[in-house]
Symmetry: C2
Subunit: 401 residues, 2 copies
């Protein structure tokens, strides 16, 4: 029936990223650091101070001016704790100094306390040869005023927020959250907690996607389950309000009962992409009254793969994120895959004894295998990896956050 | 000064995990799925239904009873959509059926629509040989009633929550959040947004740790910066209320100005572990009025490494999590490391062209290198990896969540 060649995964990703770049979220917000977790930086962060702000001691020890010292024991003329401003160094003396404390004016090196003998009269004898700059962290060693420290499009996690704090920023300009309407289609779906009628199953995609979207910094508009009814589907879509993406699962591949597709086509355009991906062949992209629409296949394993590999990067790019590709690692296969396919397969897999093992049942309806797994292993079209061959493994931690 | 051998990283981790197991969080909570994200399952999840609940069609096509069919064209006696209960199959006919719809009683296989010719009189001719069970997903194929689907101690992310939803669970029993008091010590510290006085620097650990702890499902009790003053430190500790861990940064290695250490020793015990780890040698573990205390070194890179490699697993194990080790991957080094050390080094690194590259400046005060990096590369004690040698890489995504 379908003679068109399948669309390679790379091409689908390229198209989606181009579509994302054509519809960037331009609004920004100024938020406190505590609220910036998981958000995307909307403006380059430029250092407004040197780090460290002044030369300071890398050790607990004694600060002195090397040129003034001929090897004699030195009187200790002040004690400098971190956080306190030192007096200029009195010539011919040294200063007791602690890690992180500013070097006093006039001093140019620090001897660590382990190499110092404290005499009975309180003077100290330095036991080892010294060099100018020894155990001193110079001003601006890490960062200089005016340097770009983080670029627009950086995702803000604990490390990035810590870095912003280091530079004194209490607030950051971030990209507004992407508002994503999540809807599931299918008369067979029932929400968890309710009784199952004949022929019905529980809706898992709503929870999978809502949690995942939140981790990606999105705001979820939870539409729930659409009835298999053209008029009600149309009414629901029209009432969505101001969203940046309509994300649906199910109802895109079944011609005769695809009310969502019909409703979307009535007020927009919709393309069905047949992807060379397994699980997850059919993916819909279109617009409804100007709002982008992505339709994912409904079975959970397909939803997982097509969301993780295609929709996640799309959503991050909408927010201006540059780095959207997950890390992947070449690992020896702990399995044989004798049947080469025409679609790129993503198998739920985990790492055991340094090899990638796959779940016994890769049938596409199975979230259980994904909970067992630690990531996805990619088997490329036309390949038949054998045990010990190198395969590409993508940890779930790289996809889920 | 210090003759004791340094404690290997493995030993420190083992000790911390044993300490965590000795002080498990026993309280549990019953929460809605939407609130269970990032939490830890407190009770085995056992399937209360078969998945799928009934045999169903894996394809859009036609369902029939193979033994009743001699190759003749078949009348279509009903149409079965997903979510609708079928009538028993009328003998000598087939049923139009869609993906996910229940198989009608009496049918035992499905022919996909691509292999069917629809005749002018509405009957269908099946063009290919068929087998019993073809394109049928049997009841209980994925999960059977009574099977354990997730074990106590499972961390709940999008996949696990989706799986719980599949089984009809709207609520889950989870472990109470660990309450962690986060405090920083040092007169040199100032919160971001305030002006820096002489000798002062901005406090970054508070933000780093607060964000990170939240990702680990912890509740953060934000104490802020303790003054370098024994009496006020003691008062602050006494007023912490009901917490499960006191987590401090800074002030554990400086003998003379270690007011936190003094205050803790007055009402508990405190051990200083000298770890064979770099950055991050000194780590404190003890108890204050029965509450466990972990003291991390204060510079951000050390905090990052000792929190990620030692405190994170401790906190997860307190919540009963079994799997606390991050995934790590052997990768070829893209650098030379000619100086072998007596401590295990964790270098901020990223992956470029399939090799692990390290940040040029690994000086321990630098969060900037961590923001640049994608993970940590481990250089073991006494080793001098060269470019192309295999080294162990831990992605930040594995540590930060």
């Amino acid at each position: 029936m379908q003679a068109r060649p399948l669309m390679p995964v790379e091409e689908a990703l390229e198209r989606l990223l181009a579509l994302a770049e054509a519809a960037p979220i331009r609004d920004t917000e100024d938020v406190a650091l505590a609220d910036a977790e998981g958000r995307v930086l909307a403006r380059d962060l430029v250092a407004s101070l040197d780090l460290p702000p002044w030369p300071n001691s890398a050790m607990d020890g004694y600060a002195l001016r090397l040129a003034d010292w001929q090897g004699e024991p030195l009187a200790v003329s002040q004690r400098i704790f971190a956080g306190h401003a030192p007096a200029p160094l009195q010539p011919g003396t040294c200063a007791r100094i602690f890690t992180g404390a500013p070097l006093p004016e006039g001093a140019d090196c620090v001897e660590m306390q382990e190499n110092v003998e404290v005499l009975e009269d309180g003077r100290v004898r330095l036991l080892e040869p010294l060099q100018v700059g020894q155990n001193v962290r110079p001003q601006g060693q890490e960062t200089r005023v005016g340097e770009q420290v983080m670029a627009t499009g950086t995702r803000l996690g604990p490390i990035e927020l810590g870095l912003a704090a280091t530079l004194g920023h209490a607030r950051l300009e971030v990209v507004r959250r992407v508002r994503v309407a999540v809807l599931s289609t299918g008369d067979e779906l029932v929400e968890p907690g309710l009784p199952l009628g004949p022929g019905q199953i529980y809706n898992s995609n709503r929870r999978l996607l809502a949690s995942w979207l939140q981790r990606l910094g999105c705001e979820v508009v939870d539409v729930g389950i659409l009835a298999d009814d053209l008029q009600r589907t149309g009414e629901c879509l029209a009432g969505l309000g101001d969203v940046d993406l309509i994300l649906s699962t199910g109802g895109v591949s079944v011609g005769e009962a695809d009310y969502l597709g019909m409703a979307l086509r009535e007020a927009g355009e919709l393309a069905l992409w047949k992807l060379a991906i397994k699980p997850g062949k059919p993916l819909t992209f279109g617009h409804f009254r100007g709002v982008p629409v992505i339709g994912l296949p409904g079975n959970p394993a397909s939803t997982l793969v097509t969301f993780g590999l295609l929709t996640r990067p799309y959503l991050l790019r909408r927010q201006g994120v540059t780095q959207v590709a997950p890390l992947r690692f070449d690992m020896p296969a702990g399995f044989d895959w004798p049947r080469s396919g025409t679609r790129r397969e993503y198998l739920r897999a985990r790492i055991e004894q340094g090899q990638v093992r796959i779940y016994k049942n890769q049938s596409s309806g199975v979230l259980r295998s994904a909970a067992w797994a630690e990531g996805l292993v990619e088997v490329r079209e036309g390949t038949t990896p054998r045990e010990g061959d190198s395969v590409s493994f993508i940890p779930f931690s790289e996809l889920l956050g």
